[in-house]
């Protein structure tokens, strides 16, 4: 009985954590934006993932359409596993790109939320928001950008 209750409790806590992280990763609902895979869930970003929308890298990258973005945000889960400090071995680059270059910051941390404005990358104008697999196993991410 106790074991069953513990299992249910863990399940409830895990669901609450996922919901909280997804909510935190979302850009302001007041603005038009882009989300991947959508604005309420995670998907695996690995070496063969692509949105087939002409991103900087043909594979291992998801990107938005061109827009004057205000920021890009991203959240990553512990998939396929993380240590006590939420470190994973899946490394992703998040940021922006244009026709000339791709720029961003790296993260391998799970369960944290990151936000980045184009000016931080010395970029402006029409850009694509991007999240790119860079190394390790596929990362489970939810990404969004607001304009």
């Amino acid at each position: 009985m106790l074991e069953r209750m513990t299992r249910i409790l863990f399940c409830v806590i895990a669901c609450a954590c996922v919901a909280a992280v997804v909510a935190l990763a979302q850009p302001s609902s007041a603005s038009a934006g882009w989300c991947w895979p959508n604005c309420s869930s995670y998907a695996l970003l690995g070496p063969s993932t692509s949105t087939y929308t002409g991103c900087w890298y043909a594979n291992g990258e998801v990107c938005s359409y061109y827009n004057n973005w205000f920021n890009v945000g991203m959240a990553k889960t512990c998939h396929p596993g993380c240590d006590w400090n939420y470190n994973t071995t899946g490394v992703v680059l998040y940021g922006f790109e244009n026709h000339d270059r791709i720029r961003g910051r790296f993260t391998s941390k799970a369960a944290n939320t990151v936000y980045l404005q184009p000016a931080e990358l010395s970029m402006s104008g029409m850009l694509r928001a991007q999240v790119t697999w860079y190394g390790g196993p596929a990362s489970q991410v939810n990404a969004g950008a607001i304009g």
């Binding site: 609902s29 680059l93 791709i102 404005q117 931080e120």
Partner: protein, 189 residues
């Protein structure tokens, strides 16, 4: 279960906990690399962030280096965040990271905010565009290295912050935290 057996199990559990606590307390990671002694200046208002469900209204400036401001931030619910931004636009960080569980910790002594750039589509080879970030107490420098392991640049840490005026050309494969003796105490995945 007999009373004697229960007592033996209890003694073993308590003993194990005491041994574990002593080992953790003696570990350098828990003592030196899990604190950030720079509390920063007085609280200032933070503006310009549109972060749903993670509103940040106040923060503390930890340092200003090379035209960049380093912030220690808190969401209104008290969760810790860190941010950086242009010094000419004080109170308006352009990049924020809210690490779950806080920063630093024994297993995460560096929170890197460096910017990387790629100009080739065919290879996933990125170089540094800007170097900056936060480091725990006990981290004396952050070292960036090439894909072959050679050191590209070593940046000193001061006041729990590191920043470089210029960046080396060429591909970068990762970075490591060094203690005051130059020993690598942590490296990025």
């Amino acid at each position: 279960m007999s009373t004697r057996l229960k007592l033996a199990v209890a003694v073993m559990v308590v003993g194990g906990a005491v041994v574990a606590a002593v080992l953790v307390a003696r570990g350098d990671a828990s003592r030196d690399h899990a604190t950030l002694s720079n509390a920063g200046g007085p609280a200032i208002g933070i503006r310009g962030l549109r972060l749903k469900a993670a509103p940040i209204r106040e923060g503390h400036v930890l340092a200003v280096r090379h035209g960049r401001t380093f912030y220690r931030l808190n969401t209104v619910s008290g969760d810790p965040c860190f941010g950086v931004g242009f010094a000419g636009d004080a109170g308006s960080p352009g990049s924020v990271d809210c690490p779950r569980g806080g920063f630093p910790s024994g297993g995460s002594p560096v929170l890197d905010f460096s910017v990387y750039e790629g100009t080739r589509h065919d290879v996933r080879e990125l170089s540094l565009f800007r170097i900056e970030g936060f480091a725990a107490d006990g981290v004396a420098a952050v070292q960036f290295f090439r894909p072959n392991g050679a050191v590209a640049l070593t940046v000193p840490v001061s006041g729990n912050v590191y920043s470089a005026a210029s960046v080396p050309k060429g591909p970068i494969a990762g970075f490591a935290a060094l203690d005051k003796d130059g020993k690598r105490v942590w490296r990025s995945p």
